[in-house]
């Protein structure tokens, strides 16, 4: 599968790629300790709490959710920057979670990351040529002259004048720095890139430039992206499939068009209805589902369905007791909600009828 397949994805058609990465019951728990000298584990933050999904070759999979839902931790756990507590991360069938040292480094050449903050993620004491060349040096690729030529080629690829390679990061604007971050990620020739909120720190008029660059690179190099973001309109624009996370779990996963046209999970519905649209007429016509309260703490997630404390459609005795698992409701369409998956549920057809699950119980404007 190469760039040709990714090209077709813009219109929302299915990318029939095989599985590049598979997560199996991935969990990341951060221990909470008490005491200064003798640290005792007193609890755990359940940042990622049992994820199972595939990333297909050549696609852009969007991972969305609010802050603290575990989306960035998931991205880092896939790259083994944070070691998973349990579960497996399979890259082309091989488990990364048990790799160490040289063999892990070898795999890392194929998986890279683009960070959110282009101000913090580039070493301010290195020239941009060194910043981009460093991964090549770490992986002992080529000689000095080749590396320099490679850096120039990479700069050109991301739209930065190659003659500026001896300058320092502070001499560049935010958008240009993000391009440098992208060039660094591309240096070792990866086929999978985790983009962790790559445009959130940028100005509105610069965001579109970076989005267009990411898409162009995907077409040309046949890249696979895990696109972590909280901006749902950007995710809709760039992603083939979208996974929605809430408190460490995926609550819904679907093809882009299906998810946005007919969100099934009450959380997805609320999230979508909260996205402001820059069009007063459209805003006036909307029936927003406004959630009450805050996201609960991942230290002690609510019992049963994690979302039941804020869910306008939660059923007592079911949602607060039983944990819904992520089930395939229709081919390619996954949801973790009793109201959708329970066979006796009157809401079984919820996804076909826009906003049906919360229409009765939801607080409307």
């Amino acid at each position: 599968m190469t760039g040709a397949a990714a090209t077709g994805s813009a219109t929302g058609t299915t990318v029939a790629g095989d599985t590049l990465i598979r997560l199996e019951d991935l969990r990341v728990h951060f221990p909470i300790t008490s005491g200064i000298v003798f640290q005792k584990k007193v609890g755990a933050v359940h940042a990622v709490d049992g994820l199972t999904f595939d990333v297909r070759r050549g696609e852009t999979l969007g991972l969305v959710g609010e802050s603290g839902c575990g989306k960035s931790t998931t991205g880092r756990a896939i790259l083994q920057l944070i070691r998973p507590t349990t579960g497996r991360v399979l890259y082309e069938g091989g488990d990364l979670a048990h790799l160490r040292g040289r063999r892990l480094r070898e795999q890392r050449k194929r998986m890279q990351m683009i960070f959110q903050d282009p101000y913090a993620s580039l070493n301010s004491r290195m020239t941009i040529g060194d910043v981009i060349g460093e991964p090549l040096l770490v992986h002992k690729m080529g000689g000095k002259a080749w590396r320099k030529a490679e850096v120039r080629r990479l700069l050109e690829t991301v739209g930065i004048n190659p003659n500026t390679l001896n300058r320092y990061p502070h001499e560049f604007s935010g958008g240009q720095r993000q391009r440098i971050g992208i060039a660094r990620a591309l240096a070792v020739g990866p086929n999978f890139i985790v983009c962790d909120e790559p445009i959130s720190a940028l100005d509105v008029s610069i965001r579109a430039q970076i989005i267009n660059l990411l898409r162009q690179l995907q077409r040309e190099l046949g890249l696979t992206y895990l696109f972590i973001a909280h901006d749902l309109s950007v995710v809709r624009h760039i992603c083939d499939r979208v996974a929605v996370m809430y408190l460490g779990r995926v609550v819904e996963l679907a093809e882009n068009a299906e998810l946005y046209d007919a969100p099934m999970h009450p959380y997805t519905q609320a999230l979508l209805s909260a996205v402001p649209i820059p069009d007063p007429e459209a805003e006036g016509r909307r029936r927003p589902v406004v959630l009450t309260g805050d996201v609960p703490s991942p230290v002690e997630p609510p019992s049963g369905c994690h979302f039941h404390t804020r869910c306008p459609a939660a059923r007592e005795g079911l949602c607060d007791v039983e944990d819904p698992s992520l089930l395939e409701v229709r081919p390619g369409r996954w949801a973790a909600c009793h109201l959708i998956t329970a066979t006796d549920s009157p809401h079984i057809r919820a996804g076909e009828d826009d906003f049906a699950v919360v229409a009765e119980g939801g607080e409307t404007a």
Binding site: S205, H237, A274, V275, I277, P278, D279, E283, D294, A365
Partner: protein, 335 residues
């Protein structure tokens, strides 16, 4: 624009310059605007366009900076805050004009309890006794949707979540019944579902307290659902001013066109590539002689490079600072 009798705030040629090592930085450049009582106005622009400095000048934060020069006039109910004696200005600022800041985490003093934060303004401006101020604070916290307010008033900011802290800040801002609320990126630090809550709250409170709100944001979506009138700023100047509906539907400035086209929207079909505004925002210390947007503009002609267009009326209730707004009306679009 409003009649004099119906104007709450009027800025006339407000200019804020900062002395820097690279020379004078013209952060705000001859900005004129009116806000009517109870009106919801959106001030939109990218970082560095001068929108926050404008708000800072209104509430008197920039005047305190040693390297800032503020000129023009800031008339609030007919009195110019820039020439009024300090004692009288202090009675207005914080009481009749109050402000909500972007980051609720850093803008509430962490060593003061919510009670202290809330009652300070009430006692200072309204001369309430402490007991009355506490009672009023609890009412206000209740009103902004903080559950069990009476029990939580002795808490400290860190014991509240981001959304809750922003509610506390709104409660503080509303405590003295201001006539004008400046909201500087009030929801930028918040999650999207919490943002929706806070925007609804602001709308509701503005209606109930009959307070005008100037919402300052980079997010066109935030003001679209909330404000009746929109002002667009670029490089320290207001480049467009008009009612939200017609401005979003038919922008009269190419920068507004660019901003609207460069963001993907949930309510329209997906596009292969996003329209971009080429280039970068200008350096405010070295502005080009003509229109500051000319280097990035798809309509720019020699005229634009030579002279700076004034903000002038285009249609009923609308203003634009562009020589070519009529070309836009005829449907010109970037290539």
């Amino acid at each position: 624009m409003g009649v004099v009798g119906n104007t709450l705030l009027r800025l006339t040629d407000l200019t804020v310059d900062f002395a820097s090592q690279e020379g004078m930085v013209h952060a705000v450049n001859r900005v004129s605007l009116d806000v009517a009582p109870g009106e919801l106005v959106g001030l939109v622009g990218e970082s560095g366009c001068g929108k926050s400095v404008t708000a800072g000048a209104i509430i008197g934060l920039t005047g305190m900076l040693p390297n800032a020069t503020v000129s023009g006039s800031i008339e609030f109910l007919g009195r110019d805050l820039l020439t009024l004696p300090e004692v009288e200005v202090r009675a207005v600022r914080g009481r009749e004009i109050s402000m909500i800041f972007q980051d609720p985490v850093t803008s509430l003093n962490p060593v003061l309890s919510i009670e202290r934060l809330m009652t300070e303004g009430l006692e200072l401006h309204l001369g309430m006794s402490h007991a009355d101020a506490v009672a009023r604070s609890i009412e206000l916290l209740d009103e902004v949707g903080i559950p069990k307010a009476a029990g939580r008033i002795r808490s400290y900011p860190h014991q509240f979540s981001g959304g809750m802290r922003q509610r506390v800040m709104i409660a503080i801002a509303l405590s003295c019944n201001p006539k004008l609320l400046l909201a500087d990126e009030p929801t930028t630090a918040l999650d999207v579902t919490i943002q929706a809550q806070i925007l609804r709250l602001l709308r509701k409170l503005s209606r109930e307290h009959k307070a005008a709100v100037l919402v300052i944001t980079h997010d066109l979506g935030v003001v679209a659902g909330m404000c009746r009138r929109i002002l667009v700023m670029y490089a320290g100047r207001i480049v467009e001013n008009g009612p939200a509906k017609s401005l979003f539907a038919r922008p009269h400035h190419p920068y507004t066109v660019g901003l609207l086209k460069s963001v993907p929207r949930l309510n329209e079909p997906r596009r292969e590539t996003l329209q971009t505004i080429s280039g970068l925002p200008p350096d405010l210390a070295h502005l080009p002689p003509g229109c500051a947007f000319a280097p990035r503009c798809f309509l720019a002609t020699d005229e634009c490079w030579a002279a700076e267009p004034e903000l002038e009326p285009t249609e009923e209730g609308r203003l634009s600072a562009c020589f070519h707004w009529e070309t836009l009306r005829e449907g010109a679009a970037p290539a």
